[in-house]
Symmetry: C2
Subunit: 109 residues, 2 copies
Amino acid sequence: MAVQASEIDDTLKRLSSRKGVKAVVILNSEGQAIRSTLDPDLTKQYGQLISNLAQQARSAVTTLDEQNDLTFLRVRTKKHEIMVAPDREYLLIVVQNPVETTQQATPQA
Amino acid sequence: MAVQASEIDDTLKRLSSRKGVKAVVILNSEGQAIRSTLDPDLTKQYGQLISNLAQQARSAVTTLDEQNDLTFLRVRTKKHEIMVAPDREYLLIVVQNPVETTQQATPQA
């Protein structure tokens, strides 16, 4: 059962309006970006690097236990957090400011 | 400044006694397990797969922005959650039951 384009748009809209969310990229099962709030170059870079990473994470998880599977990946970095949700047909990538406590928002380029 | 063996033992003890923690593996900078609560085979598998994954995550992060760096990796799976903390000298891997509620264990060496 295919996900409707409107559902994808809704997801993009909902996520990108969240506080702290800096970027949203949605890839299809071929790893191609079908929605993105980033410019084309960054979209491509994020798409390739993060989908490869998600694939390796899934492969590690199923190698350790073939009954298991990846459901979610969080990559915390010095500057932000990259959250990766592998869906049935899509890979959802959300870049957000680290969810600390009550830190003041610092302007970021 | 080298971390004392007793500090590593303390970290292992502290983490493995936490509610929901199923396993703790500590690797040195060469990727060799120096402490583990798992049997040797699983320790080796976790060590190799998760340290490779952490390396790829770090590489993705620094490729996207060379001023950035990986600080923490969480791999959520159907069965449990694998948390990876790259320290200065060590890679800390904690396998725990998924944390659904409020507290989120963030292991620190």
